[in-house]
Every structure is written in structure tokens, then in C-alpha cells.
């Protein structure tokens, strides 16, 4: 026993002494994670660089780690499914992360789909929110009640008398997060019916700050990770709607069609020009001070922005990324070559 321990200890010591070269560390959004780790693997498999470590911490968690300092134990890249906030940029500056380059790699979108045989449907984000939220404003609009709606025309008289049934992603999925972010949180955080509750009691009513609870009375049906099943269900039930990642709609365009959201149908063009609202840009940020110290950083960034990855027929498009317009791709590639710094002014423009 003693011998084993001693051998093990000395082995470990030897291993520690032979410390390997720095390895790229990437943190951030779980939405960007599949693309980021795909590129990381490609870099590891096709070059001599070590495969970067990609951790899915969420956009906010990633920013926190990224901006914690410039030391070598902090991440070299962070991914985000939203832009860096001015507050986070300031934090970065304070902690010595002065030079940051921002790159957009593509878009992430969700589609509200229905059977091809169903009549065309146009919904607003608010109507969608009212259909799926667990609690909605009452008739007077001064308080919340459990969601009473079962037909679309109860929400808006102009909508058809059609039963509300929505097959959507389960809570474990990234599409669900996107759906909650873009439909529920985005609307409810601007509605005083919800936020006043939060203001009244920050601790007890924390969930009302950005209310995103989905009803559980069978109207919203979480349908597992198997999108094929949702497609089959939509075929059987013409009244039902399904929620997919955008790429899936395209693959099944023979049997399902998209409902328009605020009058716009999802398509690469409408996502790219921002008129289709259920989409968002995906970013990554580079810590410039690490480039000279960690081998492979530029190669990783170049690979990520290459046509082979994020182009129209790139590998990332195959696993669900909506590509940027070509001019934008060129723009960000030149940003990368120049390593343009993110400045405080960039946050003022809005």
C-alpha cells in the first residue's frame, strides 16, 4: 500500500513538473457552445495546436469569468448570445482587460411552425406570450391570473377561433431558453403588471422581474428533443403549432410551414436584416493581451470565421447556425485581421 502511494505521488510530481504549453480556454453562451466546440475540435484535429477547452457557462457567466482579469488563468475567449453590456465592458476595463475584439459569427433563430394544410397565421410576440405564459394579466389589466386562454380569438378577436396547442422544446433545451428570452422575458419585462409585483417585493416576487414561466395545463406540450415527433404531431393536428430551431424548419419544408411573426416569415434574409424578431446575433470576444502568449488563438478565430465553418454551406450551418450576409462575414473577417478594439463609444450608438 505504502509503495503504491509513493509511486503514485512521485508520478504525479513528475507529471506536474512537465507542465504543458498553454491551452486555449473558451467560456460562455450555451447557444454558441455547439458551434464553438465544433470549431475547437476541428482546430485540434487538423492542426498541431491542442484542442481548446470549451465550457458552457451561459453568456453572463462567461462575461464574468472573461472580465475577471488579464491573468493567464482567465479565459481567452467568451461566447455570447447577446452583445456585451456597457456594464460588463466597464468591468473588463477596471480589471485590466483593456483590449477586446468583438466578432459576430451568425444568428440563432426559432420558428413557429404549423402543418402545411393549416390556414396561414400571423401572430405578434405579445399574443404568443399570452398564449404560453403561466400567468397573464386579468381583464382589467391590474393583476395576474392563471392563463385562461384556450382559443386564439380569446386573446385577440381578430385571430381565428382555433384551439391553442403548442408543441415546444422541454426545459433542458437551448431552443427553450431562446424562446423564453425572446418571447416571454422580452415582453414581460416591459409590462408593469409583472414588474410592479417585482418592485413591491424583490425577494418574494423575483420571478416577476422577467416573468418566463410557461403554463403547465397541457396547452403547451414539452415534446422532448425529438423534433421528428413534433413534425408528425403537426401533420395530425392542423390546429397545433410547433416551436423549432430555425434550421429544422428548412429541413422539413415539405410538410410544415412557418407562421409569420409580426407579419414576417423566417428566412435567412429576414433574419439577417433583423425584421424577423425571433432571432438573435451570436458573438464571441477575444482577449487581445493573450494572443501572444497562448498559441493557436488567431488560428481558432480565423477558423471560426472561415467560410468552411460559418459560410452558407459551412459546417456550422449544418448544425443550426444561420449565416451572416456575405458582406458582414467579410466585415468581421477584416475586424479580426485588424483586431479592432471594442471601445466605450460602441455601446453609446444604440
Amino acid at each position: 500500500m505504502k509503495k503504491i502511494i509513493i509511486t503514485a505521488a512521485s508520478l504525479l510530481m513528475a507529471a506536474t513538473a512537465a507542465q504543458a504549453a498553454e491551452q486555449i480556454q473558451i467560456v460562455g453562451s450555451s447557444t454558441v457552445y455547439p458551434f464553438s466546440s465544433y470549431v475547437a475540435e476541428e482546430l485540434g484535429a487538423t492542426t498541431k495546436f491542442k484542442t481548446p477547452v470549451v465550457e458552457s457557462t451561459g453568456s453572463g457567466g462567461g462575461m464574468k469569468l472573461f472580465c475577471a482579469g488579464a491573468g493567464m488563468d482567465t479565459p481567452d475567449f467568451t461566447n455570447a448570445s447577446r452583445r456585451m453590456k456597457a456594464k460588463e465592458f466597464k468591468k473588463c476595463q477596471e480589471n485590466g482587460v483593456k483590449e477586446i475584439t468583438e466578432i459576430v459569427v451568425g444568428y440563432d433563430g426559432i420558428a413557429i411552425a404549423q402543418s402545411k394544410s393549416a390556414a396561414p397565421l400571423n401572430l405578434t410576440r405579445k399574443e404568443l406570450m399570452l398564449a404560453v405564459a403561466a400567468e397573464v394579466p386579468n381583464k382589467a389589466g391590474d393583476g395576474l391570473v392563471a392563463n385562461p386562454y384556450h382559443y386564439w380569438n380569446e386573446i385577440n378577436a381578430k385571430l381565428p377561433h382555433r384551439k391553442i396547442t403548442i408543441y415546444g422544446p422541454p426545459s433542458s433545451s437551448g431552443t427553450r431558453d431562446a424562446f423564453e428570452d425572446m418571447i416571454l422575458k422580452h415582453i414581460t419585462k416591459h409590462m408593469s403588471v409583472y414588474t410592479s409585483l417585482y418592485k413591491a417585493d424583490h425577494k418574494k416576487n423575483k420571478k416577476y422581474k422577467k416573468f418566463h414561466e410557461i403554463r403547465q395545463d397541457g396547452v403547451y406540450v414539452p415534446s422532448g428533443e425529438n423534433d421528428n415527433l413534433i413534425v408528425q404531431k403537426l401533420g395530425k393536428d392542423a390546429a397545433a403549432l410547433g416551436i423549432f430551431g430555425y434550421s429544422y424548419l428548412e429541413e422539413n419544408s415539405d410538410s410544415i410551414a412557418a407562421a409569420t411573426v409580426e407579419g414576417v416569415a423566417p428566412a435567412p434574409e429576414t433574419v439577417q436584416n433583423g425584421s424577423y424578431k425571433l432571432s438573435r446575433s451570436l458573438y464571441f470576444y477575444i482577449k487581445k493581451s493573450h494572443i501572444s502568449k497562448v498559441p493557436g488563438m488567431m488560428e481558432y478565430a480565423r477558423l471560426f470565421t472561415s467560410e468552411q465553418m460559418i459560410g452558407d454551406d459551412g459546417a456550422c450551418a449544418e448544425i443550426g447556425l444561420i449565416p451572416l450576409p456575405e458582406s458582414m462575414r467579410d466585415h468581421y473577417r477584416s475586424q479580426l485581421t485588424k483586431l479592432t478594439n471594442l471601445t466605450a463609444d460602441d455601446f453609446k450608438k444604440k
Partner: protein, 397 residues
Amino acid sequence: MSDPLKPSSMDTSLKADNRKRRRARADSRFKWYGIIALGLAMAFLTFFFIDIIGKGLPAFQQAEILVHVEYSEAVKSNYNKAVPKKYRKLISRAWLRSIPMMLEGHPDMIGTSENLWVLADYRVDQFLKGHEGHRLKKKYQQLVAQLETDGKVHLAFNTGFFSSGDSKLPENAGILASAIGSVLVLLLTMLFAVPVGVMTAIYLEEFAPDNHFTRLIEVNINNLAAIPSILYGLLGLAIFINFMGVPRSSALAGGLTLALMTLPIIIIATRAALRAVPDSIREAAYGLGASSLQTVWHHVLPLAIPGILTGSIIGLAQAMGETAPLLIVGMMAYIPDAPHSILEATTVLPAQVYTWSAESIRAFEERTAAGIMVLLAVLLSLNAVAVKLRNRSQQTW
């Protein structure tokens, strides 16, 4: 079991008879409750095993395709040119993209060609296994069926599963890196937790005075053994990573965190083992003039070793299957390379199972189940070792 009491000679009335029967009924009812409970537990277990094994077994086989590979000069810049265009979509990119690097290492191979069994794309693999949702396009389905009748595509033992790390391409994903990570982390956990735990237990059991302070420590240790493991993760993050500067995601960070978690279990088991050594042994040693150190080191500890080992192994087995604290210290990440040192980023088996279970591509489902099977096998053998040790050196006083 049901040994009816002999009725007393006086008591032959109907009433007493009834009472007896009632008692016998209660007796058999009780027995049946136990059997039902056991049956239920067995049913759950069987269901779990059938489900996991049914899903996981196919993963130990992998589709391969026989293709004619040409190593021309052009392949160095475009690996797709190495194989006939018709087959390109059927072959795993994991293998294709490795060709240029391989040629760089073996320049003499340029200009040659060979027939080779290569890794097939996961869609082909899933199609051959007859899984729904294989997502192989119609025209390729015909091609694969044709190849199958020609004997140019087959399912072979999946060596890649044991010889490669994580991958985003399901056909290329394996458990090697995470298995090595698990071994490293476990080794570190053992190295830290066992000596500290055993010394603590020896002190508390053999030397410490029985006062309020030591009793307080005792209560706390017992309490610590029961708190949710994620708290150890938070503690590990605060102490080892933020304060001591241990690299995030490294085996050292994971090992130390799990050592914290395992400590109470080892302490409790060791104390129980020490307590089981009868006082007569200690008294005999003292009687012969041994010092306290000699008594413990030469007589009590050796007799308690089997118990200590059992406790330690069970504690380590628990650490082996743990994921929650490791999530906090950053080990649940995409880390396909096996670590070369304890400071490098590492993932572990249960974390690997978790990341696979979250993958959207359905082909990962069988890998997840196969990963669980490997993990179960390791845990089972650890527990078997613990039982064996206990049986071999069991002493009755």
C-alpha cells in the same frame, strides 16, 4: 420464520384460536410487504438495466466502409479528394480531415493508394442499426443498402469508443480522455482524503479528550457527510481556484474538491473500524509497556485496516460518480484531449455522460447509455473490491 407458539393447555377456546389466526395473518402480511418492497426495487433496477443496456449495446459496434483511398498531392490541401466523390458523404469527416496531417508525417505515402476500412458517418451507422431518425438521405440509403449486399459496409467492434476522447461527431466520440481524467482525479482524491481522514479519525478516536469541543466536531463531521455535494463545489471554487490559484477545470481542482467531499465518509468509517478493535488489545499493548503511538501504530491500526479500506473505497466510489461539485469547478466542458498533467483541463466519466446526454444529435443517445455502462462496470468492480477486502480480513473478537 412463522413458528406458531404452542397453545397453553388451558387455552382452547374459539377466541384464542381467532387471535392466533390473526397473529399468523399479520405475520404473513408483514412478510409479503417485505417481498413486495423488494420486488418493486428489483423491478426498477431491472427496468433501468434493460433500458440502459438495450440502448447502450449498439454503441459498441460501429459502421465501417471499405473505400479506395488515393493519397495524391491535391489531398494535402483538400482532404475530400482522397476518396471517390460518391462515397464522400458516407465517410466520417473525423477520419477525412486527419489525412493531411497524416501525410505530413509520412511524405512517402503521397502518390500511393490503398483499400481501407474507414469510419462511416453517424447517419450511415444509425441507418444500418435500424434506428429511427437516422437522417440519412434517400439516395444514400439506396447506396448504403447496395454497399451492404456487396459486403463493402459492415458493423465492426467500436475500438474508437475506447481509444478516443470526446467529439462533436458522434461516430468519433469516445471515453478515453474522460476515463483517464477520472483515474487522475480519483488518485488525487485518494491521496488527499485518505491520509487526512485516517489521521483525523485516529486522533478523535484514540487521543482526543471527550469534551464539548470534540463532540461539536463530531456532530459537524456527521453533518457534513450528509450535505448536498454541490456545496463542496462552491467551497472548492472559493478556496482552491479563487484563493489558491489552482487552474480551473484541472484534475487538481477536481481531486481536491472531491477529497473534501469524501473526507467525512472516510473519517466516519475509520472511526467505526477503530472502535471495533476491542480495548483488550490496547490494554495488552500498554501492559507490555508500549507507548500510545506504538499501541495505535503497531496494534490498533493494522487490525482496523480492512474496515478503513472498505470505507475509503466506498467513499471513492461515490466520488467517482459525482458530477455536481465538478460542474462548479469547470470540469463539465468540451475537453476532448486526455490530460498530460494534473494542472491541465480534464473531464471525468460522469461529466462526459452528462455532456453527451445534452447533445441534440440522436446518435449520442447510445453513446450516453454506453458511457453509463462503463461507469457502472467501474463502480461495480470498486464495490466488489471493497466487499472482497472486508470478507478476506474479517475478524471476530
